[in-house]
Protein backbone atom coordinates (compact mmCIF):
# COMPACT_ATOMS: atom_id res chain seq x y z
CA UNK A 1 0.00 0.00 0.00
CA UNK A 2 2.63 2.48 1.13
CA UNK A 3 4.83 1.51 -1.85
CA UNK A 4 2.02 2.32 -4.26
CA UNK A 5 1.62 5.75 -2.67
CA UNK A 6 5.38 6.30 -2.89
CA UNK A 7 5.32 5.43 -6.61
CA UNK A 8 2.47 7.86 -7.20
CA UNK A 9 4.34 10.64 -5.40
CA UNK A 10 7.51 9.92 -7.42
CA UNK A 11 5.63 10.04 -10.70
CA UNK A 12 3.86 13.33 -9.87
CA UNK A 13 6.63 15.29 -8.20
CA UNK A 14 9.87 15.83 -10.18
CA UNK A 15 11.99 16.97 -7.22
CA UNK A 16 15.28 15.73 -5.82
CA UNK A 17 13.91 15.13 -2.30
CA UNK A 18 11.27 12.75 -3.60
CA UNK A 19 13.83 9.96 -3.87
CA UNK A 20 14.01 9.65 -0.08
CA UNK A 21 11.40 7.40 1.52
CA UNK A 22 11.41 9.46 4.72
CA UNK A 23 10.42 12.53 2.72
CA UNK A 24 7.63 10.68 0.96
CA UNK A 25 6.32 9.39 4.29
CA UNK A 26 6.56 12.85 5.80
CA UNK A 27 4.67 14.30 2.83
CA UNK A 28 1.88 11.74 3.29
CA UNK A 29 1.70 12.54 7.00
CA UNK A 30 1.54 16.28 6.28
CA UNK A 31 -1.20 15.84 3.69
CA UNK A 32 -3.24 13.81 6.21
CA UNK A 33 -2.63 15.86 9.34
CA UNK A 34 -2.83 19.47 8.12
CA UNK A 35 -6.45 19.38 6.84
CA UNK A 36 -7.56 17.69 10.07
CA UNK A 37 -5.86 20.40 12.12
CA UNK A 38 -7.41 23.08 9.94
CA UNK A 39 -10.94 21.73 10.36
CA UNK A 40 -10.67 21.25 14.13
CA UNK A 41 -8.95 24.63 14.39
CA UNK A 42 -11.93 26.42 12.83
CA UNK A 43 -14.13 25.24 15.68
CA UNK A 44 -11.45 25.67 18.37
CA UNK A 45 -11.36 29.37 17.45
CA UNK A 46 -15.16 29.70 17.20
CA UNK A 47 -15.45 28.19 20.65
CA UNK A 48 -12.56 30.20 22.13
CA UNK A 49 -10.72 27.01 23.04
CA UNK A 50 -7.19 27.99 21.95
CA UNK A 51 -5.80 27.79 25.48
CA UNK A 52 -7.63 24.53 26.05
CA UNK A 53 -5.95 22.82 23.08
CA UNK A 54 -2.59 24.22 24.20
CA UNK A 55 -3.04 22.55 27.59
CA UNK A 56 -3.90 19.26 25.84
CA UNK A 57 -0.68 19.49 23.81
CA UNK A 58 1.45 20.22 26.87
CA UNK A 59 -0.18 17.37 28.80
CA UNK A 60 1.87 15.10 26.54
CA UNK A 61 4.89 15.76 28.80
CA UNK A 62 3.18 14.24 31.82
CA UNK A 63 1.66 11.57 29.58
CA UNK A 64 5.11 10.48 28.42
CA UNK A 65 6.37 10.50 32.00
CA UNK A 66 3.52 8.28 33.17
CA UNK A 67 4.21 5.93 30.26
CA UNK A 68 7.90 5.73 31.18
CA UNK A 69 7.16 5.09 34.86
CA UNK A 70 4.60 2.39 34.04
CA UNK A 71 7.13 0.76 31.73
CA UNK A 72 5.39 1.32 28.37
CA UNK A 73 7.67 1.02 25.34
CA UNK A 74 5.40 3.38 23.42
CA UNK A 75 3.86 6.03 25.69
CA UNK A 76 1.09 6.94 23.19
CA UNK A 77 -1.60 5.17 25.17
CA UNK A 78 -0.96 6.89 28.53
CA UNK A 79 -0.56 10.20 26.69
CA UNK A 80 -3.97 9.81 25.08
CA UNK A 81 -5.54 8.61 28.32
CA UNK A 82 -4.27 11.66 30.23
CA UNK A 83 -5.27 14.15 27.51
CA UNK A 84 -8.74 12.61 27.23
CA UNK A 85 -9.10 12.70 31.01
CA UNK A 86 -8.15 16.40 31.08
CA UNK A 87 -10.50 17.14 28.16
CA UNK A 88 -13.46 15.52 29.92
CA UNK A 89 -12.60 16.97 33.35
CA UNK A 90 -12.28 20.55 32.08
CA UNK A 91 -15.45 20.30 29.97
CA UNK A 92 -17.52 18.91 32.85
CA UNK A 93 -16.10 21.44 35.30
CA UNK A 94 -16.95 24.28 32.92
CA UNK A 95 -20.48 22.98 32.42
CA UNK A 96 -21.08 22.50 36.14
CA UNK A 97 -19.71 25.81 37.39
CA UNK A 98 -19.96 28.15 34.42
CA UNK A 99 -16.61 29.43 35.73
CA UNK A 100 -14.14 31.43 33.69
CA UNK A 101 -12.20 28.54 32.25
CA UNK A 102 -8.87 30.26 31.55
CA UNK A 103 -7.98 30.24 35.25
CA UNK A 104 -8.83 26.55 35.55
CA UNK A 105 -6.89 25.84 32.37
CA UNK A 106 -3.95 27.84 33.72
CA UNK A 107 -3.83 25.55 36.72
CA UNK A 108 -3.98 22.42 34.55
CA UNK A 109 -1.26 23.89 32.32
CA UNK A 110 1.04 24.50 35.26
CA UNK A 111 0.49 21.00 36.62
CA UNK A 112 0.97 19.03 33.40
CA UNK A 113 4.10 20.92 32.37
CA UNK A 114 5.84 21.01 35.75
CA UNK A 115 4.89 17.45 36.70
CA UNK A 116 6.00 16.20 33.29
CA UNK A 117 9.35 17.97 33.48
CA UNK A 118 9.94 16.87 37.10
CA UNK A 119 9.21 13.23 36.33
CA UNK A 120 11.19 13.14 33.08
CA UNK A 121 14.21 14.98 34.49
CA UNK A 122 14.80 12.58 37.36
CA UNK A 123 18.52 11.78 37.32
CA UNK A 124 19.16 14.47 34.72
CA UNK A 125 17.72 12.55 31.79
CA UNK A 126 15.43 15.15 30.23
CA UNK A 127 17.56 15.53 27.09
CA UNK A 128 16.30 12.12 25.95
CA UNK A 129 12.82 13.52 25.63
CA UNK A 130 13.46 16.76 23.75
CA UNK A 131 12.18 15.02 20.60
CA UNK A 132 8.70 15.45 22.10
CA UNK A 133 9.24 19.19 22.39
CA UNK A 134 10.06 19.89 18.76
CA UNK A 135 8.74 16.75 17.07
CA UNK A 136 10.19 14.87 14.12
CA UNK A 137 7.97 14.44 11.11
CA UNK A 138 10.77 12.85 9.06
CA UNK A 139 10.79 9.75 11.26
CA UNK A 140 7.11 8.97 10.69
CA UNK A 141 6.52 5.27 10.03
CA UNK A 142 4.04 3.66 7.61
CA UNK A 143 2.15 2.40 10.69
CA UNK A 144 1.79 5.93 12.01
CA UNK A 145 0.61 7.08 8.59
CA UNK A 146 -2.06 4.42 8.72
CA UNK A 147 -3.15 5.67 12.18
CA UNK A 148 -3.22 9.25 10.88
CA UNK A 149 -5.34 8.21 7.89
CA UNK A 150 -7.79 6.50 10.25
CA UNK A 151 -8.07 9.54 12.51
CA UNK A 152 -8.51 11.81 9.47
CA UNK A 153 -11.39 9.64 8.34
CA UNK A 154 -12.93 9.71 11.84
CA UNK A 155 -12.69 13.51 12.01
CA UNK A 156 -14.27 13.81 8.56
CA UNK A 157 -17.20 11.57 9.56
CA UNK A 158 -17.56 13.35 12.90
CA UNK A 159 -17.69 16.66 11.06
CA UNK A 160 -20.41 15.51 8.69
CA UNK A 161 -22.58 14.44 11.61
CA UNK A 162 -21.81 17.06 14.27
CA UNK A 163 -20.50 20.26 12.62
CA UNK A 164 -23.91 22.00 12.61
CA UNK A 165 -24.56 21.07 16.22
CA UNK A 166 -21.12 22.30 17.26
CA UNK A 167 -21.83 25.62 15.57
CA UNK A 168 -25.13 26.02 17.43
CA UNK A 169 -23.57 25.04 20.77
CA UNK A 170 -20.78 27.56 20.15
CA UNK A 171 -23.21 30.48 19.65
CA UNK A 172 -25.62 29.64 22.48
CA UNK A 173 -25.92 26.43 24.45
CA UNK A 174 -29.52 27.09 25.55
CA UNK A 175 -30.51 27.68 21.95
CA UNK A 176 -28.81 24.40 21.01
CA UNK A 177 -30.60 22.59 23.86
CA UNK A 178 -33.96 24.00 22.74
CA UNK A 179 -33.40 22.23 19.42
CA UNK A 180 -32.91 18.86 21.08
CA UNK A 181 -29.11 18.88 21.10
CA UNK A 182 -27.35 17.16 24.00
CA UNK A 183 -24.96 20.03 24.71
CA UNK A 184 -22.69 18.28 27.21
CA UNK A 185 -22.28 15.26 24.94
CA UNK A 186 -21.32 17.49 22.01
CA UNK A 187 -18.86 19.47 24.15
CA UNK A 188 -17.22 16.32 25.51
CA UNK A 189 -17.03 14.57 22.14
CA UNK A 190 -15.33 17.58 20.55
CA UNK A 191 -12.89 17.96 23.44
CA UNK A 192 -12.00 14.27 23.27
CA UNK A 193 -11.58 14.36 19.50
CA UNK A 194 -9.27 17.37 19.81
CA UNK A 195 -7.27 15.61 22.53
CA UNK A 196 -6.78 12.46 20.45
CA UNK A 197 -5.80 14.36 17.29
CA UNK A 198 -3.35 16.60 19.14
CA UNK A 199 -1.68 13.73 20.99
CA UNK A 200 -1.37 11.51 17.92
CA UNK A 201 0.41 14.36 16.14
CA UNK A 202 2.74 15.35 18.99
CA UNK A 203 5.55 13.11 17.72
CA UNK A 204 5.40 14.84 14.36
CA UNK A 205 5.14 18.49 15.32
CA UNK A 206 6.18 18.70 18.97
CA UNK A 207 4.63 20.02 22.16
CA UNK A 208 5.94 23.57 21.72
CA UNK A 209 4.25 24.42 18.46
CA UNK A 210 1.42 21.95 17.97
CA UNK A 211 -1.17 24.49 19.05
CA UNK A 212 0.10 26.97 16.48
CA UNK A 213 -0.61 24.45 13.76
CA UNK A 214 -4.16 24.17 15.09
CA UNK A 215 -4.81 27.90 15.44
CA UNK A 216 -2.92 29.65 12.64
CA UNK A 217 -4.61 28.25 9.49
CA UNK A 218 -8.10 28.89 10.89
CA UNK A 219 -7.09 32.32 12.18
CA UNK A 220 -5.67 33.20 8.76
CA UNK A 221 -8.82 31.94 7.06
CA UNK A 222 -10.98 34.12 9.30
CA UNK A 223 -9.32 37.18 7.81
CA UNK A 224 -10.66 36.41 4.36
CA UNK A 225 -13.91 34.46 4.95
CA UNK A 226 -17.50 35.57 5.24
CA UNK A 227 -19.23 32.24 5.81
CA UNK A 228 -18.53 28.82 7.25
CA UNK A 229 -17.90 27.16 3.92
CA UNK A 230 -15.18 29.58 2.83
CA UNK A 231 -13.80 29.57 6.40
CA UNK A 232 -13.37 25.79 6.27
CA UNK A 233 -12.07 25.63 2.70
CA UNK A 234 -9.48 28.41 3.16
CA UNK A 235 -8.33 26.96 6.47
CA UNK A 236 -7.71 23.58 4.79
CA UNK A 237 -5.93 25.16 1.80
CA UNK A 238 -3.71 27.37 3.97
CA UNK A 239 -2.91 24.47 6.28
CA UNK A 240 -2.00 22.16 3.39
CA UNK A 241 0.12 24.79 1.65
CA UNK A 242 1.95 25.64 4.88
CA UNK A 243 2.50 21.93 5.56
CA UNK A 244 3.96 21.08 2.16
CA UNK A 245 5.94 24.32 1.80
CA UNK A 246 7.30 24.00 5.35
CA UNK A 247 8.31 20.38 4.83
CA UNK A 248 10.13 21.06 1.57
CA UNK A 249 11.77 24.22 2.91
CA UNK A 250 12.97 22.38 6.00
CA UNK A 251 14.61 19.78 3.69
CA UNK A 252 16.60 22.46 1.88
CA UNK A 253 17.32 24.57 4.96
CA UNK A 254 18.11 21.65 7.23
CA UNK A 255 15.68 22.91 9.88
CA UNK A 256 13.07 21.25 12.12
CA UNK A 257 10.06 20.51 9.90
CA UNK A 258 7.31 21.24 12.43
CA UNK A 259 8.60 24.72 13.24
CA UNK A 260 9.21 25.50 9.57
CA UNK A 261 5.61 24.51 8.77
CA UNK A 262 4.33 26.75 11.55
CA UNK A 263 6.43 29.66 10.23
CA UNK A 264 4.77 29.29 6.83
CA UNK A 265 1.35 29.24 8.51
CA UNK A 266 2.31 32.41 10.39
CA UNK A 267 3.36 33.98 7.07
CA UNK A 268 -0.09 33.15 5.66
CA UNK A 269 -1.67 34.71 8.72
CA UNK A 270 0.27 37.94 8.20
CA UNK A 271 -0.60 38.05 4.49
CA UNK A 272 -4.32 37.53 5.11
CA UNK A 273 -4.30 40.08 7.94
CA UNK A 274 -2.71 42.56 5.54
CA UNK A 275 -5.30 41.72 2.90
CA UNK A 276 -8.04 42.32 5.43
CA UNK A 277 -6.59 45.66 6.51
CA UNK A 278 -6.38 46.82 2.91
CA UNK A 279 -9.94 45.71 2.22
CA UNK A 280 -11.26 47.54 5.29
CA UNK A 281 -9.38 50.70 4.16
CA UNK A 282 -10.86 50.47 0.68
CA UNK A 283 -14.42 50.04 1.90
Amino acid sequence: MIEILHKIIESILPFAWVKYDFMKNALLAVVLVTPVFAIIGTMVINKHMAFFSDVLGHSALTGVAIGVILGFNDPTLPMIALAVFIAIAVTCFKAATNAASDTVLGVFFAIVVSLGVVLLSRGGGFARYTAYLIGDILSVTPNQIFVLATIALCVFLYWIIFANRLTLVSVNSSLAASRGINVLLIEISFAVLTAVVVILSIRLVGVLIINSLLILPAAASRNISRDLQSYTIWAVIISLLSGVAGLVASYYWGTASGATIVLFAALFYCLTALFRMIRVRLN
Binding site: T167, L175, S178, R222, R226, D227, L228
Partner: protein, 263 residues
Protein backbone atom coordinates in the same frame (compact mmCIF):
# COMPACT_ATOMS: atom_id res chain seq x y z
CA UNK B 1 -52.38 32.10 41.30
CA UNK B 2 -53.14 28.73 39.78
CA UNK B 3 -56.26 29.72 37.93
CA UNK B 4 -58.34 26.99 36.40
CA UNK B 5 -57.46 26.44 32.82
CA UNK B 6 -59.08 24.13 30.35
CA UNK B 7 -56.82 24.62 27.38
CA UNK B 8 -53.66 24.62 29.35
CA UNK B 9 -50.56 24.21 27.26
CA UNK B 10 -47.93 24.49 29.92
CA UNK B 11 -48.67 23.91 33.57
CA UNK B 12 -45.96 25.03 35.96
CA UNK B 13 -46.57 24.13 39.57
CA UNK B 14 -44.49 24.79 42.67
CA UNK B 15 -41.43 25.54 40.56
CA UNK B 16 -38.25 26.23 42.51
CA UNK B 17 -34.70 26.76 41.31
CA UNK B 18 -31.60 27.20 43.46
CA UNK B 19 -28.09 28.02 42.31
CA UNK B 20 -25.97 26.87 45.21
CA UNK B 21 -27.42 28.57 48.25
CA UNK B 22 -29.11 31.34 46.23
CA UNK B 23 -32.85 30.92 45.73
CA UNK B 24 -33.63 32.11 42.20
CA UNK B 25 -37.23 30.89 41.92
CA UNK B 26 -39.61 29.52 44.52
CA UNK B 27 -43.24 28.39 44.43
CA UNK B 28 -43.89 29.59 40.91
CA UNK B 29 -47.32 28.51 39.65
CA UNK B 30 -48.08 29.50 36.10
CA UNK B 31 -50.58 28.06 33.67
CA UNK B 32 -50.04 29.06 30.09
CA UNK B 33 -53.04 28.60 27.86
CA UNK B 34 -52.82 27.65 24.21
CA UNK B 35 -52.42 30.60 21.89
CA UNK B 36 -51.79 33.00 24.75
CA UNK B 37 -49.10 35.68 24.80
CA UNK B 38 -47.82 36.14 28.32
CA UNK B 39 -45.37 38.90 29.17
CA UNK B 40 -43.08 38.11 32.10
CA UNK B 41 -41.73 41.28 33.70
CA UNK B 42 -39.60 41.89 36.76
CA UNK B 43 -36.38 43.50 37.94
CA UNK B 44 -32.88 42.28 37.05
CA UNK B 45 -32.11 39.03 38.81
CA UNK B 46 -35.79 38.23 39.28
CA UNK B 47 -35.31 34.81 37.66
CA UNK B 48 -37.00 35.56 34.35
CA UNK B 49 -34.36 33.92 32.18
CA UNK B 50 -34.06 31.09 34.73
CA UNK B 51 -37.79 30.43 34.30
CA UNK B 52 -37.26 30.02 30.55
CA UNK B 53 -34.25 27.76 31.11
CA UNK B 54 -36.28 25.58 33.46
CA UNK B 55 -39.03 25.26 30.85
CA UNK B 56 -36.35 24.31 28.31
CA UNK B 57 -35.31 21.54 30.72
CA UNK B 58 -31.79 22.91 30.84
CA UNK B 59 -31.42 23.29 34.59
CA UNK B 60 -32.57 21.15 37.51
CA UNK B 61 -35.67 22.36 39.35
CA UNK B 62 -38.13 21.42 42.04
CA UNK B 63 -41.84 21.21 41.35
CA UNK B 64 -43.33 20.29 38.02
CA UNK B 65 -43.57 21.60 34.49
CA UNK B 66 -46.12 19.70 32.45
CA UNK B 67 -46.98 20.17 28.82
CA UNK B 68 -50.14 19.31 27.00
CA UNK B 69 -50.02 19.55 23.28
CA UNK B 70 -52.77 18.70 20.86
CA UNK B 71 -51.90 15.57 18.92
CA UNK B 72 -49.08 14.73 21.32
CA UNK B 73 -50.81 13.06 24.30
CA UNK B 74 -47.67 12.54 26.38
CA UNK B 75 -45.36 14.43 24.15
CA UNK B 76 -42.97 17.19 24.80
CA UNK B 77 -43.91 20.30 22.87
CA UNK B 78 -41.67 21.66 20.18
CA UNK B 79 -40.16 24.72 21.82
CA UNK B 80 -38.83 27.68 19.89
CA UNK B 81 -36.38 29.79 21.84
CA UNK B 82 -34.96 33.25 21.21
CA UNK B 83 -32.02 33.80 23.60
CA UNK B 84 -30.87 37.12 25.02
CA UNK B 85 -27.61 37.05 23.15
CA UNK B 86 -25.30 34.93 21.05
CA UNK B 87 -21.62 34.33 21.73
CA UNK B 88 -19.64 35.17 18.64
CA UNK B 89 -16.79 37.46 17.71
CA UNK B 90 -17.58 40.52 15.68
CA UNK B 91 -15.52 39.02 12.83
CA UNK B 92 -16.99 35.50 13.07
CA UNK B 93 -17.24 33.97 9.60
CA UNK B 94 -20.78 32.76 10.30
CA UNK B 95 -23.46 34.02 7.92
CA UNK B 96 -27.16 34.26 8.70
CA UNK B 97 -27.71 31.33 6.32
CA UNK B 98 -25.04 29.31 8.17
CA UNK B 99 -26.75 29.98 11.49
CA UNK B 100 -30.25 29.07 10.35
CA UNK B 101 -28.98 26.19 8.21
CA UNK B 102 -27.12 24.74 11.22
CA UNK B 103 -30.35 24.78 13.19
CA UNK B 104 -32.80 23.42 10.65
CA UNK B 105 -30.66 20.90 8.75
CA UNK B 106 -28.30 18.03 9.52
CA UNK B 107 -26.27 18.51 6.34
CA UNK B 108 -23.06 20.29 7.44
CA UNK B 109 -23.30 23.91 6.25
CA UNK B 110 -19.50 24.28 6.44
CA UNK B 111 -19.34 21.96 3.43
CA UNK B 112 -21.75 24.09 1.43
CA UNK B 113 -25.46 24.88 1.46
CA UNK B 114 -27.56 23.04 -1.11
CA UNK B 115 -30.21 24.86 -3.14
CA UNK B 116 -33.04 23.08 -1.34
CA UNK B 117 -31.72 24.19 2.05
CA UNK B 118 -31.16 27.73 0.71
CA UNK B 119 -34.83 27.77 -0.23
CA UNK B 120 -35.86 26.63 3.28
CA UNK B 121 -33.65 29.29 4.85
CA UNK B 122 -35.17 31.94 2.58
CA UNK B 123 -38.68 30.82 3.52
CA UNK B 124 -37.76 30.94 7.20
CA UNK B 125 -36.42 34.50 6.88
CA UNK B 126 -39.44 35.52 4.80
CA UNK B 127 -41.61 34.77 7.84
CA UNK B 128 -40.00 37.74 9.60
CA UNK B 129 -39.48 39.83 6.43
CA UNK B 130 -35.71 39.46 6.62
CA UNK B 131 -34.77 37.65 3.38
CA UNK B 132 -32.25 40.35 2.53
CA UNK B 133 -30.15 39.38 5.57
CA UNK B 134 -29.40 35.83 4.40
CA UNK B 135 -25.82 36.49 3.21
CA UNK B 136 -24.81 38.90 5.95
CA UNK B 137 -22.39 37.81 8.63
CA UNK B 138 -24.04 37.65 12.06
CA UNK B 139 -21.40 40.13 13.30
CA UNK B 140 -22.75 42.68 10.82
CA UNK B 141 -26.34 42.56 12.07
CA UNK B 142 -27.86 45.22 14.30
CA UNK B 143 -29.41 44.04 17.56
CA UNK B 144 -32.89 44.24 16.06
CA UNK B 145 -31.88 42.35 12.92
CA UNK B 146 -30.25 39.58 14.95
CA UNK B 147 -33.40 39.27 17.02
CA UNK B 148 -35.46 38.87 13.85
CA UNK B 149 -33.12 36.19 12.56
CA UNK B 150 -33.32 34.35 15.88
CA UNK B 151 -37.09 34.58 15.76
CA UNK B 152 -37.08 33.15 12.23
CA UNK B 153 -34.97 30.24 13.54
CA UNK B 154 -37.26 29.70 16.53
CA UNK B 155 -40.28 29.62 14.19
CA UNK B 156 -38.70 26.95 11.93
CA UNK B 157 -40.17 24.42 12.23
CA UNK B 158 -43.28 25.97 13.75
CA UNK B 159 -43.13 25.48 17.53
CA UNK B 160 -45.96 24.75 19.98
CA UNK B 161 -44.45 27.06 22.54
CA UNK B 162 -42.29 30.08 21.79
CA UNK B 163 -39.99 31.44 24.50
CA UNK B 164 -38.66 34.93 23.82
CA UNK B 165 -35.97 36.36 26.06
CA UNK B 166 -35.36 40.05 26.01
CA UNK B 167 -32.19 41.08 24.19
CA UNK B 168 -29.46 42.29 26.56
CA UNK B 169 -28.36 45.14 24.35
CA UNK B 170 -28.39 46.65 20.91
CA UNK B 171 -32.14 46.98 20.43
CA UNK B 172 -33.74 50.39 20.90
CA UNK B 173 -37.33 51.02 22.04
CA UNK B 174 -38.57 51.27 18.46
CA UNK B 175 -36.86 48.01 17.56
CA UNK B 176 -38.40 46.29 20.56
CA UNK B 177 -41.84 47.53 19.69
CA UNK B 178 -41.41 46.25 16.11
CA UNK B 179 -40.35 42.92 17.57
CA UNK B 180 -43.44 42.71 19.79
CA UNK B 181 -45.63 43.49 16.79
CA UNK B 182 -43.91 40.77 14.79
CA UNK B 183 -44.27 38.21 17.59
CA UNK B 184 -47.88 39.11 18.09
CA UNK B 185 -48.67 38.86 14.37
CA UNK B 186 -46.97 35.44 14.25
CA UNK B 187 -49.13 34.36 17.13
CA UNK B 188 -52.31 35.44 15.38
CA UNK B 189 -51.27 33.82 12.10
CA UNK B 190 -49.92 30.56 13.51
CA UNK B 191 -51.70 30.25 16.84
CA UNK B 192 -48.42 29.82 18.70
CA UNK B 193 -48.27 30.14 22.47
CA UNK B 194 -45.74 32.76 23.52
CA UNK B 195 -43.93 33.46 26.77
CA UNK B 196 -42.09 36.75 26.48
CA UNK B 197 -39.57 38.06 29.01
CA UNK B 198 -39.07 41.81 28.97
CA UNK B 199 -38.24 45.01 30.80
CA UNK B 200 -40.34 47.13 28.49
CA UNK B 201 -43.64 47.18 30.40
CA UNK B 202 -45.35 49.85 28.34
CA UNK B 203 -44.16 48.58 24.96
CA UNK B 204 -45.31 45.02 25.50
CA UNK B 205 -48.63 45.85 27.18
CA UNK B 206 -50.76 46.28 24.02
CA UNK B 207 -49.62 42.88 22.70
CA UNK B 208 -49.90 40.72 25.81
CA UNK B 209 -52.98 38.81 26.98
CA UNK B 210 -51.52 38.52 30.38
CA UNK B 211 -48.68 40.09 32.32
CA UNK B 212 -46.84 38.26 35.07
CA UNK B 213 -44.73 40.21 37.55
CA UNK B 214 -41.94 37.94 38.70
CA UNK B 215 -39.44 38.52 41.45
CA UNK B 216 -38.25 35.07 42.59
CA UNK B 217 -41.91 34.14 42.84
CA UNK B 218 -44.97 35.49 41.07
CA UNK B 219 -45.95 38.81 42.68
CA UNK B 220 -48.86 39.75 40.45
CA UNK B 221 -50.55 38.30 37.41
CA UNK B 222 -53.43 39.44 35.25
CA UNK B 223 -54.36 41.62 32.29
CA UNK B 224 -51.56 44.08 31.49
CA UNK B 225 -53.70 47.02 32.56
CA UNK B 226 -54.33 45.45 35.97
CA UNK B 227 -50.68 44.61 36.58
CA UNK B 228 -49.49 48.01 35.39
CA UNK B 229 -51.76 49.73 37.89
CA UNK B 230 -50.86 47.33 40.70
CA UNK B 231 -49.05 49.03 43.59
CA UNK B 232 -46.76 46.05 43.95
CA UNK B 233 -45.23 46.83 40.55
CA UNK B 234 -43.71 50.08 41.82
CA UNK B 235 -42.56 48.29 44.93
CA UNK B 236 -40.84 45.51 43.02
CA UNK B 237 -39.36 47.49 40.17
CA UNK B 238 -38.52 50.60 42.20
CA UNK B 239 -39.84 54.06 41.48
CA UNK B 240 -37.06 55.00 39.08
CA UNK B 241 -37.75 52.12 36.72
CA UNK B 242 -41.43 52.76 36.94
CA UNK B 243 -40.84 56.39 36.02
CA UNK B 244 -38.78 55.34 33.02
CA UNK B 245 -41.56 53.08 31.89
CA UNK B 246 -43.93 56.01 32.21
CA UNK B 247 -41.71 58.06 29.97
CA UNK B 248 -43.80 57.55 26.80
CA UNK B 249 -46.85 59.05 28.56
CA UNK B 250 -44.69 61.85 29.80
CA UNK B 251 -43.43 62.47 26.29
CA UNK B 252 -46.99 62.46 24.98
CA UNK B 253 -47.96 65.07 27.55
CA UNK B 254 -44.95 67.05 26.62
CA UNK B 255 -45.79 67.19 22.95
CA UNK B 256 -49.48 67.88 23.72
CA UNK B 257 -48.50 70.90 25.80
CA UNK B 258 -46.26 72.06 23.03
CA UNK B 259 -43.71 73.23 25.54
CA UNK B 260 -41.36 71.84 28.15
CA UNK B 261 -42.55 70.93 31.58
CA UNK B 262 -40.50 70.93 34.74
CA UNK B 263 -40.36 67.53 36.42
Amino acid sequence: MAEKCEHCCTRIEGLGVNFGSAVILKNVDLHVNCGELIAVVGPNGAGKTTLLRAILGEIPYKGSIKFQVKGKPDGHPRIGYVPQKLNYDIDSPISVSDLIGSAISDAPVCMGIKMSLKERIRASLAGVSAERLSDKRIGELSGGELQRVLLAMAMTPEPDLLLLDEPMSGVDAKGLSLFYELASSLRRAKDVTILLVTHDLIGVAPHADRMVLLNNSIIASGRPKEVLSDDRLVKELGPSLWNISKLPEFMDDLSADGKGREQ
